[in-house]
Symmetry: C2
Subunit: 348 residues, 2 copies
């Protein structure tokens, strides 16, 4: 191609570009995995209200903060939190170095794979598991252990890595909010370092945008190099009232939008709603036993420790004007691996 020819070609492309873009814009739906309905509409209306410069509800970009719970809101939390499964797997991996665990609860139940005992673990039992599996190494070493586990562990029902069990409609909301000038945070009751180990890869969220529970960390010298050592003591619980506290501690601004699915998220939604101007509060309801799970008010599974969205929270949501997202009715597609679906019906 001659120089002139190339330049001419470029001119044609440039002239064609605005039209092509306009076409793409008209066709693309930022929430394509959602069925039309009040949930989808409330997201679209909220984003319009905060980004429309001519509206009294306009919010400057630096104020646009959105917070997402993780387990049960962004990805599958049944039959157990991924982090709990990690803890159990780590006990197995470490068992040979701890022969005393064969006679010591709660470790003996895990080693014997006694599932009935495990489902009955108390808070104190889980704290022992966390102390044995999440502490005693540097933060760098811990992230590497988590990364290696995620690369091989699979979910017992879906037989896929946990990181593939992200809800596609929620990822769309995250992307749509970011494209609309929002700064998006995960605010999880789960471990901050655990989630940071994959949040960048899975959600495009850098570590400073992941707020979670944490254990005490101490600065130490090890072989002449400084390390941050993880100690077997709780530092901060980012759950229930801890969520607004964590949001203030890490961000220092009140969210305009908050997404949760359990009583652990109630205070985050209250705190969001109590701010002036347009605010969006949403709760994911797990009511789709065929494509995912049903628990809480749409109970198909016995209530376990995870996923506590009791009927009372459902009532409270209606009373306060929070939007409940029905997985069954509002989500056209649940997981990316399903591929886009034209049907709004759950698979049999």
């Amino acid at each position: 191609m001659t120089r002139m020819g190339r330049a001419g070609h470029l001119t044609v492309m440039l002239l064609a570009l605005p039209l092509a873009c306009a076409g793409a814009r008209a066709q693309s739906d930022p929430l394509a995995a959602w069925n039309d309905g009040p949930a989808k509409q409330s997201i679209l209306a909220f984003v319009k209200s905060v980004t429309d410069k001519t509206a009294a509800t306009y919010v400057a970009p630096e104020g646009r903060i959105a917070t997402f719970d993780q387990d049960g809101t962004l990805w599958v939390e049944h039959p157990a939190y991924a982090q709990a499964m990690f803890g159990l797997d780590r006990v197995h991996a470490l068992a040979s170095a701890h022969p005393e665990w064969k006679q010591e609860a709660p470790f003996n139940a895990i080693i014997e794979d006694n599932r009935e005992a495990i489902t009955k673990f108390s808070e104190a039992d889980w704290e022992k598991v966390v102390a044995a599996t999440h502490a005693g190494m540097s933060t760098d070493a811990f992230r590497e252990i988590v990364r290696q586990w995620l690369a091989t562990a699979t979910h017992p029902r879906f037989h896929r890595p946990y990181t593939e069990l992200v809800y596609e409609p929620m990822r769309e909301v995250m992307d749509f909010l970011r494209a609309s000038g929002f700064k998006v945070y995960i605010v999880t009751g789960g471990g901050q370092e655990f989630v940071r180990a994959y949040a960048e890869r899975v959600y495009g969220l850098p570590p400073e945008q992941v707020i979670g529970s944490s254990i005490l960390t101490k600065y130490q010298q090890q072989d002449g190099k400084p390390v941050l050592m993880r100690e077997p003591n709780i530092f901060f619980i980012d759950d229930q009232g801890g969520k607004p506290v964590g949001i203030n501690l890490f961000i220092g601004k009140r969210p305009y939008a908050a997404f949760g699915n359990s009583t652990g998220d109630r205070e985050m939604l209250e705190w969001t709603q109590a701010g002036a101007g347009p605010r969006l509060e949403m709760l994911v309801l797990h009511d789709d036993p065929s494509r995912e799970y049903a628990y809480g008010p749409a109970r198909a599974l016995p209530d376990t420790r995870v996923g506590t969205f009791p009927a009372a929270l459902d009532d409270e949501a209606k009373h306060k004007g929070w939007t409940v997202i029905s997985m069954k009715n509002d989500w056209k597609q649940i997981f990316a691996f399903e591929g886009p679906s034209g049907s709004s019906q759950p698979k049999p």
Copy 2:
């Protein structure tokens, strides 16, 4: 002016713009308040090394983190931290509501303005002052109290608001780093909420880029509205080993550049230096009694609680290759209110 005339004028301006900008660029020095010398050169060389895409030392923008101590590094900390002055002023303001303080240490010393006693306050005394003046209100109310105090309080020597006592050369470094793709954080031993009350206005830093010490905060309902109540108990001390811990907690990335001035910053500089690739560690030495103060190795003032840059740290800096910034020799201008100075000599 006719439409044509205006358009013609605009065209001339637009045509002239690239030339004017090129001229401005060639003339502008991002570190104009610095004298030429090893400190200025080390900053320029560091920024070049991390931003030059052709160099092996190149750092992608998402990794470019810089952390600044505040008191004594970004602004004046003598004769006392601004936050300590705030605490003393608050005790006076609250004294009429606390008649019992007249007989109660350490409050009686403050009410009687017994400066000798105040300079001898123990850590426990200061904790009582903090508990009485920094807790018992919501986070929103506290920020407002700080804002009001800053609007009226003045420094005893410079007779200007504390927020005007920011070191212009350090503000230039902050701006230069930001313009070079860095995300800049304050990492202070001082109170996180205290600094957030002015960090946006003074440094252009949003609250999420201010990491500091904090007291316990509790989520509560007050008159039917949720509030975050500040409790009179320490939650996190962001000093010494707490600085790398806080950096990991809030940012989750290791800084490439860190700036301090005291033993409270040693671990932050160590942690920064221990990372791979190009790193910059700098310590501000207060050796200019005429324009600011001299303490530490350049002692002109008796050592007090603040500003502990002992001779040992000076030795350590030399040994480890950290760059010491001499206020006297490296800074052409110290404060913005002085106006640009052509002289590198301190005023008599």
